[in-house]
């Protein structure tokens, strides 16, 4: 603990409501301050992850998302504003984060995850969050996280449903145990409300906070499914695939 950064008086005041959370405390807050989290895409899910982590006092956010904001992103991309339509999404998003918490370092990468950057970006974080719509990106994040033994929170949703799991290399199945390849029928535009994407994002942010601060029980080896249609939440077990080409070959 001695090599963790100390909190300033201003930070103790800012985080006062969470410093008394059982199992968290000042040491948990100092762990957050020392941590770097990579978020792949800052749309409806990842934008909420980033917002929650900024509010919680993560030391450094690395945010990766290419492209410009479109009007039809605004039903769920809560970091952005109507005035930002047509502007680079990542720069729009970061303004809100910096305004919320200037203690948080925010690094923006105007790229989506691909073969050329996945390993490099994952190497820079302590925990990664996969919040994009493409299975190819999620599977690249998964492979990089497993190889580098970094925890990865993987997020998904559809209509009023959400799904979430946390991959802890060496302890849990990985995404490729469930999805060995990009499913051919998946379409990247699908029905969803912000209330659903931001629920998934908030749940994912809580996973990150628990992983870094070392309390609670992350979803390693479990899949959370929920349906806001009837407000049912359920966790089920997921198992490693013995022949998984990603996590079976890890060193």
């Amino acid at each position: 603990m001695s090599d963790l950064p100390y909190l300033t008086d201003d930070e103790r005041d800012r985080y006062g409501w969470q410093l008394t959370v059982r199992g968290f405390g000042e040491e948990g807050q100092r762990r957050l301050k020392a941590a770097t989290v990579l978020v792949s895409r800052i749309g409806g899910v990842g934008g909420t992850v980033a917002l929650q982590l900024a509010a919680a006092g993560i030391g450094r956010l690395v945010l990766a998302h290419a492209g410009n904001l479109r009007l039809n992103d605004l039903n769920r991309q809560l970091l952005m504003s109507t005035d930002d339509v047509g502007q680079q999404r990542i720069e729009s998003g970061v303004r809100r984060l910096r305004a919320l918490n200037p203690h948080v370092e925010v690094e923006t990468i105007a790229e989506n995850i691909d073969e050329s950057n996945a390993a490099r970006l994952v190497a820079r974080c302590d925990v990664a969050v996969s919040a994009g719509p493409l299975f190819s990106e999620r599977l690249l994040m998964n492979r990089a996280a497993v190889r580098q033994r970094k925890p990865l929170v993987d997020c998904a949703m559809y209509e009023l449903e959400g799904r979430l799991t946390t991959i802890v290399p060496g302890k849990s199945p990985c995404l490729a145990c469930l999805y060995p390849e990009s499913p051919p029928l998946w379409k990247r535009e699908f029905p969803v409300f912000s209330a659903v994407s931001s629920t998934v994002g908030s749940l994912a942010a809580m996973e990150v906070i628990k992983l870094i601060a070392g309390f609670g029980e992350p979803l390693a080896g479990r899949l959370l499914t929920f349906d806001l249609g009837d407000q049912s939440f359920r966790t089920v077990r997921i198992d490693r695939e013995a022949t998984c080409p990603v996590c079976n070959d890890r060193a």
């Binding site: 919040a131 719509p133 559809y158 999805y179 390849e181 499913p183 029928l185 998934v200 077990r237």
Partner: protein, 94 residues
């Protein structure tokens, strides 16, 4: 025997219902359930269950008894009367 089948995401949309009871021969397997459903549920829903060549969709997750497993891995799991089987087509973030 009857099992309860719950449909998620694109399957629920294609079928227009969230769950139903399905009649199966005693000791039917997950594979037999999925093949029977695919034969009777219409093409929109069936494509999420089986591929064009009739194999189970590799990315379909099937929850039986609180364990979620890709359909290809629990195809031979034997079902019992009253089991609840939840079918989860692949979905993603955004």
């Amino acid at each position: 025997m009857k099992v309860r089948v719950e449909y998620s995401a694109q399957l629920r949309t294609a079928l227009g219902r969230a769950a139903e009871d399905v009649d199966l021969p005693d000791a039917a397997t997950v594979r037999e359930l999925l093949i029977q459903l695919a034969a009777t549920c219409g093409d929109d829903a069936a494509q999420h269950l089986v591929t064009d060549s009739g194999d189970l969709r590799p990315s379909l997750l099937v929850i039986v008894n609180d364990v979620a497993t890709p359909a290809r891995r629990n195809a031979s799991t034997t079902l019992r009367p009253g089991d609840v089987v939840t079918l989860l087509p692949p979905v993603s973030g955004g």
